[in-house]
């Protein structure tokens, strides 16, 4: 750190601190701002857009205009309203899957990494789960139940868990060989305490990075499930559903596909940028390489 050698200066202002942070971590700031913007739109959807379900058969497949910013779809619904409300589902699913997958993955990974006897069977189970293509597993899980947002969240979380388990386990395996763990065991700490107080903290940084990638992949999988007709019910405005129901009108009304498609790509891009930025910051070893 060059700053250490410099003479003490006046405390930089909050704005100045933020500017320094933004200059050093442009990807985190760019990704986070885009994501906050989308989240604001999702939260205030009811205020800034009309009714996403309102049908107006006389107003079908109209191009973007001052009345309908993103045009209308084949049933005369406002594409802008549907796109804005679609942000809700995507973000809710993305965040919920990230929380679920990280929570379960962390718990399983800690146990598998720490207790040698459970390690092999648990990891074989995870290998098996990982061998099933995520989208197919999610499709199969959704197809068994009545499609709802909750089912979709669970179905997408299950294939994500093994990846988190592997990450946590690898961190635990290296951490548990450290001298301070030996010292804790020697000092008579209980396993529970060693896991929670001494091992858990070292998993947090990589998990934050992993959470962003889980979120990005969950948003993509949710859209793919909706697109394939295996996601939330088709009348719900989600970006995948919108694209699926408009695909016959690609030639005559491309806006019905490209507005939700662009939003979907932007949100995933924002999450990925944030993930890359966080990884650079939290794992300096990788910063140079990727």
């Amino acid at each position: 750190m060059a700053a250490v050698a410099e003479a003490p200066r006046a405390e930089p202002s909050r704005v100045g601190q933020f500017q320094t942070f933004a200059r050093r971590n442009p990807t985190i700031v760019a990704g986070a701002s885009l994501l906050v913007f989308m989240a604001l739109i999702a939260v205030t959807a009811g205020l800034i857009a009309g009714d996403p379900l309102f049908l107006n058969p006389s107003d079908r497949l109209h191009g973007p205009s001052s009345l309908h910013w993103f045009g209308t779809d084949n049933l005369g619904r406002d594409v802008f309203a549907r796109t804005v409300f679609g942000a809700r589902i995507s973000l809710v699913v993305g965040i919920a899957v990230a929380i679920l997958a990280i929570t379960f993955g962390l718990a399983i990974g800690l146990v598998a990494g720490y207790y040698r006897r459970v390690d092999a069977p648990v990891m074989r189970l995870m290998d098996g789960l990982m061998a099933i293509p995520a989208i197919l597993l999610a499709i199969a899980l959704v197809s068994l139940n009545k499609a709802s947002v909750g089912i979709v969240i669970v179905a997408i979380s299950i294939p994500e868990i093994p990846r988190v388990v592997r990450l946590v386990r690898s961190v635990v395996l290296t951490t548990r060989e450290q001298p301070f763990i030996e010292a804790a065991i020697g000092g008579g700490s209980r396993h529970r305490k060693i896991i929670l107080r001494h091992i858990l903290p070292s998993t947090i940084a990589p998990l934050i990075v992993q959470a962003t990638y889980v979120m990005a992949s969950a948003i993509l999988t949710e859209a793919a499930l909706s697109f394939l007709g295996a996601g939330v019910p088709p009348e719900t405005p989600t970006w995948g559903n919108m694209i699926a129901s408009s695909r016959l009108f690609l030639e005559s009304a491309p806006w019905t596909i490209f507005f939700p498609g662009t939003c979907l790509a932007l949100v995933v891009l924002a999450v990925n940028l944030m993930g890359d930025g966080l990884r650079d910051r939290l794992d300096p070893r990788l910063a140079r390489r990727m």
Binding site: R124, L125, D127, G128, L129, A131, I132, P133, A134, I135, L136, L137, I139, A140, L141, S143, L144, N145, A216, L220, A223, A224, F227, L228, G229, A230, I243, R247, L250, E251, P254, I257, F258, G261, T262, L264, A265, V268, L269, N272, L273, D276, R288, R289, M290
Partner: protein, 313 residues
């Protein structure tokens, strides 16, 4: 080596068995009676009882599982509830488009991604490098179906260079076959290219920092052979590993790509099966795709000895 291959094949068995267990349990985890699910919505109680008996659903779960695994081992994936044909036959009939799509995508993507990654690493820090890295993040973020429709709109509808949708069997000519595969392969391959290009660049940067590269440069090895023979060869193991892991992306993507481009392949088969709740097809396709994934990654493991003579089994 042969002993190693045999050992590895054996070690695959638990993974495949666990996949089989998941797939088997899928139908049984469903709320409600599997016989009623299979019988469909308009079934009478007699129908359901008949199906339960015929499929052995009145037996204990572990016996049903053993019977099911036994038939799996004989290559029997059951019968489609809708088509009433064996699932193996249905998959076989639709294999050509899917295999064509996957192989063209795989080969083009690997060549393209490795060239991009090597170039980016050789010119690290330049605008070209930043472009490749930007492309990689972008490729990860744009969903297959959005790229697919964009490509159709630009190259098929607006420019009319390529067909909008569909598939032509290779028996009807290589050129029409290829023309139909160009757009789907690009859409499907984008994320795969991004993944491989990224890892290629990262590994190449590590290798290029090694002493023997500096030695090579000092003794006058030309830039190209240095990059391709000395560096890339040493970077091969991680790259090939990611190519294998990334096959999962291709398999998931095939299902979506075939829907976008209306290709009558295995992906369409399973998507149509979801709408009809045709569980034997869903189970069968998952088994086949997972099996391919496991086999590809076994092949990757075995290729390590060829790529890096230091690795011996």
């Amino acid at each position: 080596m042969i002993a190693y291959i045999a050992r590895r094949l054996l070690s695959m068995l638990p993974v495949v068995a666990i996949v089989a267990m998941f797939v088997f349990l899928l139908l049984h985890l469903a709320p409600g009676d599997p016989a009623a699910i299979i019988a469909g919505d308009n079934a009478t109680p007699q129908n359901i009882a008949q199906i339960r008996k015929a499929l052995g659903l009145d037996e204990p779960l572990w016996r049903q599982f053993l019977v099911w695994v036994g038939s799996l081992a004989r290559g029997d994936l059951g019968r489609s509830m809708f088509w009433n044909d064996p699932v193996v036959t249905l998959i076989g009939q639709r294999a050509e488009p899917t295999v064509s799509l996957a192989l063209t995508t795989l080969s083009v993507a690997v060549v393209l991604a490795i060239s991009m990654g090597v170039t980016a690493a050789a010119k690290a820090g330049t605008a070209l490098d930043r472009f490749v890295m930007g492309f990689a993040v972008f490729g990860f973020s744009v969903p297959v179906f959005v790229v697919g429709y964009l490509l159709i709109f630009v190259f098929a509808i607006a420019l009319k260079w390529l067909p909008v949708q569909g598939y032509t069997p290779i028996a009807e000519g290589v050129l029409p076959w290829l023309r139909n595969l160009v757009l789907p392969s690009v859409a499907l391959g984008l994320a795969y290219v991004a993944l491989i290009a990224r890892i290629t660049r990262a590994t190449m940067l590590d290798v290029l920092a090694e002493d023997y590269i500096r030695t090579g440069r000092a003794k006058g090895v030309a830039a190209r052979p240095l990059l391709l023979k000395h560096a890339l060869k040493n970077a091969a193991v991680p790259i090939v590993t990611v190519i294998g892991i990334g096959v999962a992306l291709l398999i998931g993507g095939v299902v979506i790509t075939e829907t976008v481009f209306n290709i009558p392949g295995v992906g369409r088969l399973v998507v149509d099966a979801i709408a009809r709740r045709d569980y034997p097809i869903i189970q069968g396709v998952i088994m086949v795709f997972s099996g391919i994934y496991v086999l590809v990654n076994l092949a990757v493991d075995l290729s390590y000895t060829l790529l890096d003579p230091r690795i011996r089994y």
